[in-house]
């Protein structure tokens, strides 16, 4: 067990090292969230305090999601291009342990997305979150982080067996922005679309996060946390089967190599 923890830790350290030396990674956690936050803040600063929270936090959540969701898959694609995917597949450490290490790196970078967006809101738009409940906010952020972690854990192996996964799953990245209410409440969505939002764990975690940051809403965020955690656990169970499928599928098709 200790050797598995050490392997995950090394995968985390290695992924962080690779990010630090890759200038494009800064686009994901620094530049893109700032763009989203700036647009959101321009639109929302005149619509009342609650909506401003979407501007302050929305860019950060989008940055967080983009990195958490796509970086894991990107790293698998990078491994394929580098010719290292087969190497990490054929070691005695299970693939999911390596992926956990990589995703932990993604999540850390993703959390950093909040720093530039909150700073932009505060210094650029004088927008702040004075009604924030620090404890509820921290727990909500932890639930959101766990939710992203599980989704990324479940989807990342698809990149190992599906070379075109990136183009297909790219649509999911953008869809989740709207479906999970990252920049606006999901009540703005058409009624027929809202059930889709309800089966996505980030919807509930995001709702809790905004509730904890809002002084006008004293709602019970515990229910949101529990639903988000319950859905995440369901995804986790599904991912166990997915990893088994990927292990077999990759060895049948030989998709791990570039050619």
């Amino acid at each position: 067990m200790r050797s598995l923890v050490r392997a995950a830790w090394r995968a985390f350290l290695t992924s962080m090292r690779l990010r630090v030396v890759n200038p494009w990674a800064y686009l994901n956690w620094l530049v893109f969230p700032l763009i989203f936050a700036a647009v959101g803040l321009f639109v929302l600063t005149s619509t009342g305090y609650t909506r401003v929270a979407y501007g302050v936090l929305g860019g950060g959540i989008i940055g967080f999601w983009g990195i958490a969701y796509l970086d894991g898959g990107n790293s698998i694609q990078d491994e394929r291009w580098q010719g290292t995917l087969e190497q990490i597949f054929a070691v005695p450490t299970p693939l999911f342990v390596i992926v956990i290490g990589k995703i932990l790196g993604s999540l850390l970078m993703g959390l950093l997305s909040f720093i530039p967006t909150v700073a932009l809101a505060y210094f650029g738009f004088h927008a702040a979150l004075p009604g924030i409940d620090p404890l509820r906010f921290a727990i909500s952020l932890a639930v959101l982080t766990f939710s992203f972690f599980v989704i990324s854990l479940a989807l990342t192996p698809l990149f190992a067996v599906w070379r075109t996964a990136f183009t297909v799953l790219n649509g999911l990245e953008l869809g989740v922005y709207g479906l999970c209410g990252f920049m606006f409440p999901i009540t703005q969505l058409p009624g027929w679309l809202q059930p889709v939002s309800y089966v996505l764990s980030p919807t509930w975690a995001t709702r809790a996060l905004y509730a904890a940051a809002s002084p006008t809403r004293g709602s019970d965020v515990t229910t949101d946390w529990l639903i988000a955690l319950g859905l995440s656990l369901a995804y986790l169970v599904a991912s166990i089967f997915l990893y088994r499928f990927v292990e077999i599928r990759a060895r049948v098709t030989g998709e791990l190599a570039l050619a």
Binding site: A7, W9, T14, V21, Q82, T84, E86, A90, G254
Partner: protein, 339 residues
């Protein structure tokens, strides 16, 4: 062999007869063809191969591109599942005992890819040491040993992108040896290396086999296989067409010698007369800048040499020589005659 090649203790006596045992191994890839009307196409990469490799043996698998060499290696290293047949490494089934196999093997694929170029050589090795679940105190010592033996000490903290091709290949080998494997798979390890680098690597590989490791090598270079392999197999279109020691492979094709000479020009009639000599299996001409080189594959080179003068009376023969048939001669004959 330097003592440092023997990483860790000598492997214990294995409770199995063959280090690698393959029976009726078959691999079929299914692809689709067409844009709108898609049809499934089956591509047979391996068509029922059998191999039995002794512990400590250096075994070479030879064959043209697409013959099934890499597919064989990938099945044995647990990267691919066979469609039919069985494959065991150190007694462990590669399909059902994947982790037992992975712990005890190492593999090196040729070429420059397969490393993290933006990381240092040391970081590459440290990463894989942890993925092989080697205790830190052991991995630290082993990495230092490998860097020393493979001539990378002093450059280990440089980024891999600054390494020469030979250094990258040696780093590959170091990675493959991290877990002190009992069986090492080398898929065209000298491809793209300069002659000196390739020779150094061959010496290293031979040293590892002499130290007790079982080596499974695939290569395009026949002289390489001839020089270092204990036994070889020739694979063509997914089937083993010959198997044995390099010497027995040469004898398989019925040739024990080659006579070569240069001429300014030679007529088809003269070539036919050479072909008609007793024991001659083939006559091949190759055009060089200033002459034609005639190569005669034959059973009795001495007899052919004595008859050359009479048979080609009036033609100036230069640089007449005879040599033993090489593995390459036998390989060309085997691959050619089966097509």
């Amino acid at each position: 062999m330097p003592a440092a090649f023997r990483l860790g203790a000598v492997p214990p006596e294995p409770p199995f007869r063959h280090a690698i045992e393959v029976a009726g191994l078959r691999k079929v890839y299914t692809n689709t063809r067409g844009t709108f009307r898609r049809t499934k196409v089956e591509n047979v990469a391996l068509d029922g191969i059998d191999l039995a490799i002794e512990p400590g043996e250096l075994f070479g698998l030879l064959g043209p591109n697409g013959a099934g060499k890499t597919t064989t290696v990938k099945i044995l290293t647990t990267l691919l599942l066979p469609t039919a047949g069985t494959a065991r490494v150190l007694g462990h089934d590669v399909v059902s005992k994947t982790n037992d196999v992975r712990r005890r093997i190492g593999f090196v694929f040729g070429g420059e890819r397969g490393l993290y170029w933006r990381l240092s050589g040391y970081d590459n090795l440290r990463y894989f040491a942890d993925l092989y679940r080697i205790p830190p105190q052991v991995s630290k010592r082993r990495i230092a040993e490998l860097l020393e033996v493979l001539g990378l000490a002093g450059r280990e903290h440089d980024k891999v992108e600054r390494y020469s091709r030979g250094m990258k290949q040696r780093l590959h080998l170091a990675r493959g040896l991290l877990n002190d494997p009992d069986v090492l798979f080398l898929d065209e390890p000298t491809i793209g290396l300069d002659p000196v680098g390739a020779r150094d690597l061959r010496v290293l590989v031979r040293g590892l086999a002499d130290g007790g490791k079982t080596i499974f090598l695939t290569t395009h270079y026949m002289f390489e296989a001839d020089a270092i392999c204990d036994r070889v197999a020739v694979i063509k279109k997914g089937r083993i067409v010959a198997q044995g020691t390099p010497r027995s492979i040469k004898q398989l094709v019925g040739e024990i010698g080659v006579v070569e000479f240069e001429v300014d020009g030679i007529s088809p009639l003269d070539l036919d007369r050479l072909q008609g000599l007793a024991g001659v299996s083939s006559v091949v001409t190759a055009e060089r800048e200033l002459a034609s080189v005639v190569t005669i594959h034959c059973a009795q080179p001495a007899d052919v040499m004595t008859q050359l003068g009479k048979l080609l009376d009036g033609i100036a023969l230069r640089n007449v020589s005879s040599r033993e048939a090489t593995l390459e001669d036998a390989y060309v004959a085997l691959i050619g005659e089966q097509s």
